[in-house]
């Protein structure tokens, strides 16, 4: 019998060419795929965080149908494969709505990438809702009571008392979600979105060097998640350090919900 494992001539020159960014990015498909992966992950995560915050608020509603709607949403998006959700969104919805390419500021946002962002974002929202809920319920009930006793309505209590404290609990799992998100973007290949993995697949279709190319692209994802790990550790160390918390950097202020922070009305006015 012949051995099933044949000799494979590993082509180091292809591997290095596609591992080393200056040469790899020479191929504009790879370069644009790389950036698509990053902005798709960032936008989808942002969407998940915003919708997740809304979902967690809705879960606290005293209207039962509202809570049921959120529960059903979470059940659906956590209980079905992301790959199926993306296909349903892009191909299924295509019967009534097809995502057109959008041209913005000289950049093109292809329909499949839009669908990818929306699909990943909707899925992420289900997980973020749970993370927000856990974070909020970790805050001592006395905090809500003190805010209520001062006459703060629900939204004010959330914005100025609960969320600034819950952030400490929410940030670590949020960081892990983003690590996952960076890798989940590869699934968009099924709906034809050209991100990093899809770009390298297209190169492979021409060169037929799967081992070299997929190994090289693995290191790209590894680099992305490692860099994100550093950023995450830095954010968490700032959150954990009481002394640093007193600093007035914009991120610290944002995390603490202080006025003048990025994204607050007062901050925007400055």
């Amino acid at each position: 019998m012949l051995p099933l494992i044949a000799t494979y001539h590993f082509d180091w020159s292809v591997f290095w060419a596609y591992l080393w960014p200056p040469t790899a990015f020479h191929n504009s498909l790879i370069a644009s795929g790389f950036w698509v992966t990053i902005y798709m992950a960032v936008l989808a995560q942002t969407m998940g965080v915003v919708l997740g915050a809304v979902g967690a608020m809705m879960q606290m509603s005293h209207r039962r149908p509202v809570r049921w709607a959120v529960a059903a949403y979470i059940l659906w998006f956590r209980g079905t494969p992301l790959l199926v959700q993306l296909s349903l969104l892009y191909f299924g919805i295509a019967a009534i709505y097809s995502f057109p390419d959008v041209h913005l500021l000289g950049l093109t946002l292809p329909g499949a990438v839009q669908a990818g962002i929306i699909g990943l974002g909707l899925n992420e929202a289900a997980f973020m809702t749970e993370i927000f809920r856990a974070g909020i319920s970790s805050i001592d009930r006395g905090q809500t009571e003190a805010a209520k006793a001062l006459g703060m309505p629900f939204r004010t209590t959330m914005r100025w008392v609960i969320l600034p404290q819950a952030t400490r609990v929410i940030i670590p799992p949020l960081g892990n979600e983003f690590n996952n998100m960076l890798k989940s973007t590869t699934l968009v290949v099924v709906i034809g979105g050209v991100e990093l993995f899809s770009a390298i697949s297209q190169v492979n279709a021409v060169l037929f060097k799967p081992f070299e190319l997929f190994l090289a692209v693995s290191f790209y994802y590894l680099a992305l998640t490692i860099v994100w790990g550093w950023i995450q550790a830095w954010i968490e160390s700032r959150l954990g350090d009481q002394k640093r918390l007193r600093g007035s950097g914009p991120i610290t202020r944002l995390l603490r919900g202080q006025p003048g922070a990025l994204g607050t009305v007062e901050g925007a006015r400055r």
């Binding site: 001592d140 209520k148 006793a149 100025w160 404290q165 009481q242």
Partner: protein
């Protein structure tokens, strides 16, 4: 209990209430009225048909064994708990209800938030906001409830902190303050938004003995300034010295309401007698 140190006097003359511009008591109107208040948690009844009246400028101390429903009663006043039945009126507002076209409806959370502004509350475990400095805690109500600017609120907050002897702690976080200091911050945080009634739920029970005096000193000063107050406390000497009325609660009922001297020297109800013999 040791003598209360004269906190608050160190920042110059004037009354605590002067800082926020409240008027001292002149009339004898009823500021807080509870009538037939019942409260159950599920099938478990905690308050049975409680009546209580507090006139403007009065200080009512509530005493009684643990689990008798003192906290629940206090929390019904500002509707942190809504009574199962009965009426709670604070400064003319029917708490938890709104009138619409002659009919009463359950108040929404937003309306309830407005109604709660009549009352200030101080908790056993302080419940300061740990992510804010002492000053930010004190002005949180001015900024987020009254919508005042930081420039308006900061001098008020600083003056209030100075009046309770914490002028130098404005920039400290709650974790850097002692229990007694935290509770004094909590008191002026509640005062800053100018409530008409102050509610205290065992304000010194979580404090080390040497810090009890400084907190009771602030409350006594507030009393002297004419603030209307309901205080749940286990400090019997303080109640005797400070209260206009002492109310005894047992198993969810008000069993006795008397002037302090009568209450402590000639308690009428056997349950009061038994309770006092244990704690005095």
């Amino acid at each position: 209990m040791t003598a209360a140190p004269d906190v608050g006097r160190e920042a110059g003359g004037g009354h605590l209430i002067d800082v926020i511009g409240g008027a001292p008591a002149t009339t004898t109107e009823c500021l807080v009225e509870l009538a037939g208040v019942c409260k159950s948690f599920g099938p478990h009844p905690v308050l049975h048909d409680v009546d209580l009246q507090v006139l403007r400028g009065e200080c009512v101390c509530i005493v009684g064994p643990s689990g008798s429903g003192k906290s629940t009663l206090l929390r019904c006043v500002n509707h942190l708990e809504s009574p199962t039945s009965g009426r709670v009126v604070v400064n003319g507002h029917r708490m938890g209800l709104v009138e619409q076209g002659g009919k009463c409806k359950a108040a929404s959370e937003g309306v309830l938030a407005k109604q709660r502004r009549e009352t200030g509350m101080v908790f056993q475990r302080f419940n300061l906001f740990p992510h804010m400095t002492a000053l930010e805690n004190v002005i949180s109500g001015l900024l987020r409830v009254q919508g005042r600017t930081r420039a308006e609120a900061t001098p008020i907050g600083e003056a209030l902190l100075a009046r309770v002897g914490l002028g130098d702690k404005a920039a400290s976080y709650p974790s850097e303050l002692s229990g007694g200091q935290q509770q004094r911050v909590a008191i002026v945080r509640a005062l800053a938004v100018r409530p008409t009634v102050m509610l205290f739920d065992e304000p010194t029970s979580a404090l080390d003995p040497e810090m009890i005096g400084e907190v009771l000193g602030v409350i006594a000063e507030l009393r002297a300034d004419g603030m209307t107050m309901i205080i749940v406390t286990h400090e019997m000497k303080f109640a005797r010295r400070t209260a206009d009325w002492v109310v005894m609660m047992d198993e969810g009922r008000v069993v006795e309401r008397a002037r302090p001297d009568a209450f402590f020297d000639r308690p009428g109800d056997p349950r009061t007698q038994r309770f006092l013999s244990k704690v005095l």
